[in-house]
Symmetry: C2
Subunit: 198 residues, 2 copies
Amino acid sequence: MPPETRERILETAARLFHEQGYAATGIATILREAGVNAGSLYHFFPNKEALLAAVLKRYEALLQPVVLTPQETAHSDPVERVFGLLAWYRAGLEATGCRLGCPIGNLALELSDTHPEVRPLIDVNFRNWASGIERWLDDAAERLPRDCDRARLSRFILTVMEGGIMQARTSNSLEPFDDSVAVLRDHFDRLLREKRRN
Amino acid sequence: MPPETRERILETAARLFHEQGYAATGIATILREAGVNAGSLYHFFPNKEALLAAVLKRYEALLQPVVLTPQETAHSDPVERVFGLLAWYRAGLEATGCRLGCPIGNLALELSDTHPEVRPLIDVNFRNWASGIERWLDDAAERLPRDCDRARLSRFILTVMEGGIMQARTSNSLEPFDDSVAVLRDHFDRLLREKRRN
DNA sequence: ACAGCAATTGAATGATCATTCAAGTTCAGT
DNA sequence: ACTGAACTTGAATGATCATTCAATTGCTGT
């Protein structure tokens, strides 16, 4: 294993970008907190933006093992997986006092316009996230209305999560997140009830 | 009128914070684009964060005349006001090629954690926005289910808007926004249909 | 033992950062 | 005309920004 240093830089950068944002995080801070010299960082990453790209690649790799698989093993019911995932994000908010939020969502709003090279990497993260949910919804296809667009619904779940997190952070309260999830649950109840009627 | 300068600084700062984010916008850029010297800016605003606070106060003042009133005059049906407002945001995305997004949402994710003094100002903006929607929903109360929590639903509309904008920007496509609005419309249809049954 | 490359050191670079301030200008009230 | 305050000028401040690089160390294959 050559580069344990590289991994430490990556972890530290990911944490600081999450805590402070990309522009607000200086290379010097990353170096200090990772216990590394400038030359080492620039040995592995040509510049700050490449470091960010590597962080986003890392998130991409962590999606299945860290985000999706735990819900898949915890819940056999695919609909419960969806709300288990939302509960997991909620737990993150609770643990941090409604801070941090979604690392990818934060970078999305900060950098989508101004960093054309990283925007696609954020996009892929969101797409993979939604695809994972969509697979769950496909497993519940027979309980949903026949005309239910599951790809659209999976993206909607991401919408609700990101929008709910945003309001939870600004209000410093879990209530807007919980309320958003409650309305989503209500919508699911109606979808599942409609099918039962058929 | 003494301070037309103050207004120009405020407008320029608002635009640049929207286009580039807060941390990524340097005072020098604001000065250049507003055609103002450093001393003038610091005559009106003690520091960068106070300038940001003034920008957020300005957004607060613009909510009713710029955001709410146009929908209220355009649509008498309160439910159509909701979707008219979403269509207005959509038009903004379309006009900019899915850039910029919601100025307040952007600042919310960038600064909620790290700038404790401005977080409440962002919060107030969101609360006023949701309160405006809630008033519309109250006007449609008799068409909605009796147990419908309209405050919760108004916040949900904000959730859908912000979450939809985020995905539209990262994917550089209106589709996720349109899809999110479509699911919200479906939910409203179900709410309105349920009532009709009573 | 040695060649050669990967990894690391850490000081230096010039640009840009937010902010300051003494000196000047403009203008309303008298 | 004169006072005083509001406003503007614009150069200077020191801190921090991302990045560079020549020199040094550590390790791997022979």
